[in-house]
Symmetry: C2
Subunit: 200 residues, 2 copies
């Protein structure tokens, strides 16, 4: 159960993510942040070291969540196709649940300092390594085509960019479905049974 | 042949795009811009109305180029698969040729004001409409699967996000190839002759 301090911290992160997503990091002043979370300067800085640290934690949060669930998905003994589908569904759910934070993740990278960028990059690579492993496993056992693994760099683009840009016009399930249809057909080897039907 | 004024203008756009891509729009001061283009304040503002106008023109330029070439591609009587492939190759070339401007296009949208955002959105939609038309034509004539056209929102994500993030580790041709392999296999109907071979 979260302590009251954690509650306040979560409230700060959520409200700030909304503001940064709507107005940009540089377009959001401290007084707006304080108004949004209903705290004075002292209370705010009790929980948050600096505005940049706040930005960094907003960006860590969504990637840490999918990193965590990707480990659970990779830990099962499902085939690579199922793992790929589960990674995609999980990422789609995560985007829909936390779109403000993902919008900040997409748009505010350049507002980070050198160390912050390195920390975001590291997490991003760790997450994409999970996808890379599934794509490599599937290629090795014949489920997937032999793909240049540079394609892994496109995975976050497929999801993050699409959700951030299309959120107002299209429901999240439709976005995930349309992405996963192309992704699964694009990745699966045509002769493999799992491309069109489940193995019995 | 460009006039000297156009040369200077192009030089300003190119140098500013590099700076904004590297340091962010808000992280780049006017004095740095002036140093980079070798102009005084007066000379600079002779060509550029404001820093935001500069940002806007940096973002217009790459999308206007691919918009222009997409009209040429759609104007041919090639089949939908060929048009899709040509749109992808053209977009990949455009990204590689002008990565700084595309990086700004990806990362600095939130730095624009309300009108600027509307203008960028309009061009973005016009460009994606070309892709939408090809995907719809291909679905109508059986070349492509029936896809939810929400997928079109993913196209720019596939390219822009991938190029911006992977530019240092992977050559542009590899990125375009890996994206187009998945995209074409993902989109083409499996039974259609053009999915695996050219029609004679």
């Amino acid at each position: 159960m979260p302590t009251r301090g954690e509650d306040t911290r979560t409230r700060i992160l959520t409200a700030s993510a909304e503001l940064f997503a709507r107005q940009g990091y540089h377009g959001t002043g401290l007084s707006e942040l304080l108004d949004a979370v209903g705290l004075g300067k002292g209370g705010f800085y009790h929980h948050i070291a600096s505005k940049e640290q706040l930005l960094l934690e907003i960006m860590f949060d969504p990637i840490d969540r999918v990193l965590h669930s990707s480990d659970r998905i990779l830990g099962t003994d499902a085939d690579a196709t199922t793992k790929l589908r589960n990674l995609g569904t999980d990422l789609g759910h995560a985007m829909a649940a936390d779109l403000a934070a993902w919008t900040v993740f997409l748009r505010e990278y350049s507002a980070l300092g050198h160390d912050g960028k390195a920390q975001v990059l590291k997490r991003r690579q760790e997450y994409l390594d999970r996808w890379r492993r599934v794509l490599a496993d599937g290629a090795a056992n014949g489920e997937f085509r032999e793909l240049d693994l540079a394609f892994v760099e496109s995975i976050l683009g497929l999801f993050v960019y699409t959700f951030v840009w299309a959120r107002e016009s299209t429901p999240p399930e439709t976005l995930t479905d349309s992405i996963m249809t192309v992704l699964l057909h694009g990745v699966c080897a045509p002769a493999h049974p799992r491309s069109t039907a489940k193995r019995d």
